[in-house]
């Protein structure tokens, strides 16, 4: 694992770049995998602010008593899920070429958290509609049959999950929800002793349409099939978000 700073870029100052007439958002795409899947969204936000300062990003700061930079993360991941396509919008006040800034940022990061692309944002994060995930499940007795069973569940007319909800007295109860309309392009296979699922789930940053947490898919499969209930040192599952799409579910979000 390469985790140390690579070759340091030439020293630079954010003052090298001209001020923008008005602050703009640079959109970054980044990876969060391996050990970093265990870092919560809140912790990631705080860490990222420090990374940007280390990288000398020409951050725009809010005015007022307690100035702070503006960072907007799309689709927070839950702890225990990895991603190859996280999006972050950062407001900058100077005209730094995004890819150049990205290099400086990568100099302050480890392999498991790495920026992959950068450009001035042209679309809104609200335009995100679908997210594609790879699930890899290693569980006792996994075989081709289990893969078929899972496929059947995920492509059925109705895909019922139990959703946590609270009544008006704040008591927690579970209610059924059919998520079939929010799951598409499912494929399931069995390879190297693991069941591999690929699927697109509805994704939204502001609830204009449902956001399906990939973890709920695993929870549902656990309940329906009794998988992943054995020895934890031999059973495990991984979730990786691989791509994000616009509403058509085919055009990559950018």
């Amino acid at each position: 694992m390469v985790s140390q700073k690579g070759t340091k870029l030439k020293p630079y100052s954010k003052d090298d770049y001209p001020m923008l007439s008005e602050p703009k958002y640079i959109r970054f795409k980044f990876r969060k995998v391996g050990n970093l899947q265990f870092i919560s969204h809140l912790d990631l936000q705080k860490a990222m602010a420090k990374v940007l300062v280390r990288a000398k990003a020409p951050l725009w700061y809010s005015k007022g008593f307690n100035p702070h930079p503006k960072l907007i993360f799309a689709l927070p991941l839950s702890v225990g899920a990895q991603s190859e396509c996280e999006y972050l919008d950062v407001r900058v006040e100077r005209a730094i070429p995004p890819l150049e800034l990205m290099e400086h940022i990568n100099d302050e990061l480890t392999e498991e958290l790495r920026f992959l692309d950068a450009y001035y944002a042209q679309t809104k994060l609200e335009d995100i509609y679908w997210a594609e995930y790879d699930f890899e499940i290693v569980t006792e007795g996994a075989d081709e049959n289990l893969a078929r069973e899972i496929e059947k569940i995920l492509t059925a007319e109705q895909v019922i999950i139990l959703k946590k909800a609270k009544d008006k007295y704040k008591n927690i109860f579970f209610k059924e929800q059919d998520i079939a309309p929010y799951v598409r392009d499912v494929s399931v296979g069995f390879e190297d002793g693991a069941v591999k699922i690929n699927a697109k789930l509805s994704a939204s940053i502001n609830q204009t349409h449902p956001h399906i947490n990939p973890e709920t898919i695993v929870t549902m499969l656990k309940e329906k099939l009794g998988i992943l209930s054995g020895d934890v040192t031999r059973e495990q599952y991984d979730i990786i978000r691989t791509r994000i799409y616009f509403e058509d579910g085919a055009t990559d979000f950018r």
Binding site: M1, S3, Q4, G34, N35, L36, Q37, F38, I39, S40, L42, D43, L44, K46, A47, A49, K50, V51, L52, V53, R54, Y61, P67, V79, G80, E108, L109, T110, E112, L113, V232, T233, E235, Q236, Y237, D238
Partner: protein, 620 residues
């Protein structure tokens, strides 16, 4: 602790504690490495990551190309359960290798209540607790940190201790280890013997025979070899400007206790409060220059991206060039949205000027530590502040619109009477009155004062090291009394748990005969005793009783000044004569000037040091 199994990580609280992979962690190629260190902090990751001492020593050891130092922390109880369930040993953070595979395991002992966690870590690492039970196949276990000044209660579990500041001596220690390994002359016994004889500040407990008198006091400590020092002299870094400074920092991804830059401004303390161990054992004061500090602060800012710099030292306002330093810092911190903070302010230094400059002083609460309620008792403990100073300081705060104030006191100090306790209540009342008399106060808002009272613990290497701690009954009585004296609803009274302080006092002045109790405590599952929810007083007492230990012998007894003390085997530079003299001054209610005003001849100047207030050591 680094766990690679994701299923286990998914099943515990805060898995980020164990997953590692931080930016700035040091990974080395094992084939270049001649000695592997695991530096353990016997508490959680969040606390350990915030410790400046660990940061310094991690950096110092890793600056040697053939030494690789990793970190290890105590896994939380939920993870401990998983480890037991699946037979997973405690591992180091960077490589994930079991602690038992290392050459040297270092454990920093920051407070007595971490002893049980220390033993738990050894147990989880499947390393036998007692040093005598560990063969050549196990790592060398070395302790350090403030508790190493009297490590006797846990001495049997360690091969050796590093006394004082470890930047140089841990490297020398490892060099000797490598040299003996390379020459083929290494075995644990010879290595420890040579380390004790040749390296300053290495204490090897097994090289001293301890005998006891019939009355339970210690008769003698006798070195078993003639070339082992009778007393182990602590090490210090003489020139703090040139002392190793960690310019690279491991950046935690999860929130830790101190997510900010900690800029060590100086070591030591000029004051000499008579209850304070740190004020004695970290002597002499050695300052850094503002120029060096400013450079170091910039460097840390660039390496971390933190938005706060905390100027950390025992009593920051005693730094002789504080205003120069803050001016230098403010030149660049303000425009980079970095704030400065000062953790510890004396009442006599709390000024309008400082408040204007330092944002945390501006925005934070008013917090002062008069420590004792009456002038008489403040003179006894040599806390050179008076009521007028305190009232002036709170008024500066009230002028600026503050309405609340927190005051720290200690209960059970030597010579304390109920009148002194009345003084605590009166001082709090005086602060409330000062508020209402202040014409610039925030009109229409009521003031609030919090009185926080801890329990006095006699600590080794202080003028009060011979004093008795109050009994539990007395503490409870005094706490009730004080509570009854505080009737104003605007004054909030909180006090420490006397039961914790009692156990702390037993361990602080303990000797080697406490080892069986600690081993039994570990066997009974004690861990994280510094955490309220895991501290069980009755079980501690039961452990002592089951081991046949008269625990009050350690805590509630006035020790004789001519007694051999368990920590006499350590020389912290400050002489016993000085401590006795200071104790005499305490009973005479006589204060001692700070080192900056006048040297009181504590003896530590024999260690030298740059930018100290000490007279130069005598040439001989």
């Amino acid at each position: 602790m680094k766990i690679k199994n994701t299923s286990i990580l998914k099943s515990v609280e805060k898995p980020g504690r164990y997953s590692a992979g931080e930016f700035g962690q040091i990974i080395k190629d094992k084939k270049d490495i001649k000695a592997r260190w695991a530096f353990c902090f016997p508490d959680t990751y969040e606390i350990g990551m915030s410790n400046l001492g660990v940061r310094i020593l991690y950096g110092a050891l890793n600056s040697e190309p053939d030494i690789w130092c990793e970190r290890a922390y105590a896994p939380w109880t939920d993870m401990q359960e998983k480890m037991r369930e699946h037979d997973i040993p405690l591992t180091a953070h960077e490589s994930g290798d079991p602690l038992g595979d290392f050459d040297i395991v270092g454990i920093t002992l920051q407070y007595e209540m971490c002893y049980t966690t220390t033993l738990k870590m050894l147990e989880l690492a499947k390393i036998p607790l007692y040093a005598k039970d560990r063969g050549e196949e196990f790592p060398i276990i070395i302790g350090g940190g403030p508790c190493a000044y009297n490590a006797e209660p846990i001495a049997d579990f360690f091969d050796c201790f590093s006394i004082g500041e470890g930047e140089e001596n841990l490297v020398e220690f490892t060099r000797l280890y490598i040299e003996m390994k390379e020459r083929g002359t290494y075995n644990k016994k010879d290595f420890l013997h040579r380390a004790a004889a040749e390296i300053g500040g290495i204490y090897v407990p097994s090289l001293y025979d301890v005998t006891y008198n019939d009355d339970g006091t210690i008769k003698a400590y006798t070195p078993v070899y003639p070339d082992v020092p009778r007393r182990v002299l602590k090490r210090i870094m003489t020139d703090m400007d040139k002392s190793y400074f960690p310019d690279k920092v491991v950046m935690p991804y999860i929130e830790t206790v101190h997510d900010r830059i900690m800029l060590e401004v100086y070591r030591g303390c000029i004051r000499g409060c008579r209850f304070c161990q740190a004020g004695m054992v970290y002597r002499p004061v050695r300052e850094k220059t503002p120029e060096v500090l400013n450079e170091q602060a910039k460097c840390l800012y660039e390496a971390t991206g933190y938005d706060e710099i905390s100027l950390s030292s025992l009593s920051i306002s005693d730094y002789s060039r504080l205003s120069e330093l803050t001016d230098n810092l403010l030149e660049w911190t303000d425009k980079n949205m970095v704030s400065l903070s000062l953790p510890s302010l004396r009442v006599d230094s709390f000024t309008k000027e400082l408040m204007d400059k330092i944002s945390t002083v501006r925005t934070g609460g008013l917090t002062f530590a008069p420590e004792a309620g009456s002038q008489r008792l403040r003179d006894v403990i040599n806390k050179n502040v008076c009521e007028a100073d305190l009232l002036r300081a709170v008024n500066v705060g009230f002028d600026a619109g503050k309405t609340s104030c927190k005051l720290y006191f200690m209960m059970g100090l030597p010579t304390e009477t109920y009148e002194d306790l009345d003084g605590i209540a009166e001082l709090a009342k005086a602060v409330i009155e000062a508020y209402y008399e202040n014409p610039n106060r925030q009109k229409g808002r009521a003031p609030s004062v919090t009185v926080s009272v801890s329990c006095f613990i006699p600590k080794p290497f202080t003028p009060f090291q011979w004093e008795a701690q109050d009994s539990m009954e007395t503490f409870v009585e005094k706490q009730k009394y004080l509570e009854s004296k505080i009737t104003d609803r605007k004054i909030r009274y909180v006090h420490h748990d006397a039961r914790v302080s009692h156990v702390e006092a037993i361990l602080a002045r303990g000797d080697r005969r406490l080892a069986p109790a600690l081993a039994l405590a570990c066997e009974r599952g004690f861990c994280f005793d510094a955490w309220d929810e895991f501290f069980h007083y009755d079980e501690w007492i039961k452990v002592f009783e089951d081991c046949g230990i008269d625990y009050n012998f350690y805590s509630n007894r006035v020790w004789g000044e001519d007694e051999v003390l368990p920590w006499d085997v350590i020389d912290c530079g400050v002489t016993k004569e000085f401590l006795k003299r200071e104790r005499g001054n305490a009973y005479a209610e006589k204060t001692t000037p700070s080192c900056r005003e006048k040297c009181s001849g504590c003896g530590v100047n024999k260690l030298g040091g740059e930018r100290t207030w000490c007279p130069k050591k005598e040439q001989n």
